[in-house]
């Protein structure tokens, strides 16, 4: 391995891969076998964090940034004037193994620009994973990108070596895709996704009968959407997201605030701000759907097409549904506890356990870690002190905003000036 060549390629191809958000390294069940290298059974580990605060868990690189497509939102698009490079299969294998041995990473996340054809590209990705598994006896985590339009046979082979497969739909609506990436079709993204979904279902069924069935993408598949590039509202985005969770059994949908990288007039201009707060609100909504028992239509619907930026989506829902409150924390069921603003699932489980021993009062709740500044308006406990005034949603929101400082203060300052 020539150090300088590799160094140069690594800089280019890591830089080009960084807009892919996924860094998850959890959820696999690949144990170390025959005293090999690596183990992907436990929870994910973030080995470092970049200065933008994102986790570094996998060696995230492109195999090449040569690409035959010209998608407006993409930094490696054909028409963009950037340095191009391509790794050899062995180079990626060496980097992965040596980084892994030093405990820098949990594994490899390999994506690629599309050169020649979808199948040709996918074949190379699979070759890297195969080499790692078969020649290096590597049991760490491997995340491969499914190349839109790749054949079913290649997708099947990919699933045998990879822990996770993902294909990014990038633009939440078909109309947006048509505008920004005219040479790509939604079906091409869907096809590999369907194949992987079916293989996983088949694997789960076969494993019950034959225990030694080789694993197929044990950490499932995921996708990613760009936020704020093509004018969709939050309702449309979460509808799409919900559709993919429900119909393709996705493990995760990632939301990536668009970082302006081009002067294309169809897109936000360079220098405009990355919509990080909006991205955060979308993730909160995603969590409410997956872990808190909310249906997406409760949070976003025809009437409420966009999430509030100044309060979190759960609080916003609660303010619209004051008739459901106050909730008595000593008797309410898990579903309702999870709906109280300021209560996370950890607190919910602590409350359910703790209230078996004695009735809980404000002091207990505070110590358990409930965010009372928000929660106090929505619950009662073993105390005669509780919110007795008949407050309007606006009043409650005002009180809460007055008594809290948002880490997004700067972004919000326009709105806050109204009160100041």
């Amino acid at each position: 391995m020539s150090f300088q060549r590799t160094q140069e390629k690594l800089k280019i191809l890591a830089d080009a891969a960084k807009y892919d958000v996924s860094c998850s390294s959890s959820g696999s069940k690949r144990a170390n076998t025959n005293k090999g290298l690596g183990d992907a059974t436990g929870m994910g580990i973030c080995h470092s964090y970049t200065e933008d605060g994102r986790c570094v868990s996998l060696l995230k690189i492109l195999l090449t940034n040569h690409c035959i497509f010209d998608c407006a939102y993409c930094v490696t698009r054909k028409s963009n004037d950037v340095k191009r490079a391509a790794f050899k299969v062995q180079e990626v294998v060496d980097l992965t193994i040596n980084f892994y041995r030093r405990n820098y990473i949990e594994g490899l996340f390999l994506s690629s620009g599309i050169f020649k054809s979808a199948d040709y590209t996918m074949e190379r990705l699979v070759a890297v994973a195969k080499k790692l598994r078969q020649e290096e006896n590597f049991n760490g985590y491997i995340h491969l990108k499914s190349i839109p339009g790749a054949s079913d046979e290649l997708m099947r082979e990919a699933g045998l070596y990879a822990d996770r497969l993902s294909v990014n739909i990038e633009i939440p609506t078909e109309a947006g895709l048509k505008k920004l990436a005219p040479d790509k079709k939604r079906e091409d993204f869907i096809k590999p996704m369907v194949k992987v979904k079916n293989e996983i279902i088949q694997y789960n069924a076969e494993k019950k009968i034959i225990k030694s069935t080789p694993k197929f993408a044990p950490a499932g598949q995921s996708t990613q959407m760009i936020i704020g590039a093509s004018g969709e509202n939050d309702f449309q985005i979460m509808q799409t997201s919900n559709h993919f969770y429900k119909n393709y059994n996705l493990k995760r949908v990632y939301y990536s605030g668009y970082v302006p990288i081009s002067y294309d007039s169809r897109l936000p201009q360079i220098g405009s701000e990355v919509p990080m707060l909006r991205e955060n609100r979308l993730y909160q909504t995603d969590w409410l759907m997956r872990f808190y028992g909310f249906d997406v239509s409760e949070i976003l619907n025809e009437k409420h097409q966009n999430l509030d930026l100044d309060v979190d989506p759960k609080l916003s829902w609660a303010l619209r549904n004051l008739h459901e409150f106050p909730v008595d924390v000593n008797t309410a069921d898990q579903r309702m506890l999870a709906r109280i603003p300021g209560l996370g699932m950890k607190s919910v489980f602590k409350i359910i356990n703790a209230r078996r021993f004695r009735k809980l009062n404000w002091e207990h709740l505070k110590k358990i870690g409930v965010a009372l500044n928000r929660a106090q308006y929505f619950m009662v406990c073993e105390s005669n002190q509780f919110e007795k005034r008949d407050l309007t949603p606006e009043k409650i929101k005002g009180f809460i905003l007055q008594n809290s400082t948002s880490k997004y203060q700067k972004t919000l300052s326009n709105q806050l000036n109204l009160f100041g």
Binding site: F3, C46, H47, E51, G53, N98, N103, F357
Partner: protein, 257 residues
Amino acid sequence: MTAKNLIYDGTFDGFLSAVFYVFEHKLKTVTIQNEFTVQQGLFSENETIHTNEAKANRVWKGIKSKLSSQGSYQLYYAFLSEQSGVEDLLLDYIQYTFSQYHKVDKDYSHPSILKIAQIAKSVGREKHRMEAFVRFRLTKDDIYFANIEPDFNVLPLIEKHFKRRYADQKWVIYDIKRNYGMFYDLKNVEVMQMDFPDNFDFTKTNDAFFATQEFEFQKLWQDYFKATNIESRKNMKLHIRHIPKRYWKYLSEKQPI
């Protein structure tokens, strides 16, 4: 009855032997202290506890039968925190456990239970951080060496993780704060102590000890770390919350090039 101050040798078995002593002598006002951090009480009488494995095992078995598995590991985690006064908190926890018929480790409205759960959580977090922040460096004798300086004594907790993961390479993880380490020789993990040269700088990779290719991979890793950052999303506050500055000195990606 005068107040007693039980002094044990700092081991978990020693602590459990002290607990045994408390129950055996039905002591009411008692504190338990590590022999390295003893503070003389004004009105208490010191008693040195001899570690007795059989007694310790009896106490541990009893504790385990009265707690969920989560409860007993929290107890052990909290012990490894080495925080001053944690022994008394643990004793209170154990006494409360034995005084009740039902399992009480989920009684988060009881002060000692909640406190122990919180301490155990910090120790767990430190364990997880060490699993993430250990940086192995390849030495000239083909051993992957890492030094750590954790807030809590988490080395016993991370041994299994590294043994399972790096089954085909020799490695050493050395806690320079507590001056002991673990060495994996491709078969077993052994506890060991090492003497380092007086001027040994743990933050530097010295070419007298480390393999030549080690420098290249550190450089590649630093390049990768820089290239994968998105400048327009820079958020140092979040960055530092994830990697507090006290961990930076042994992270290769944080070293000046």
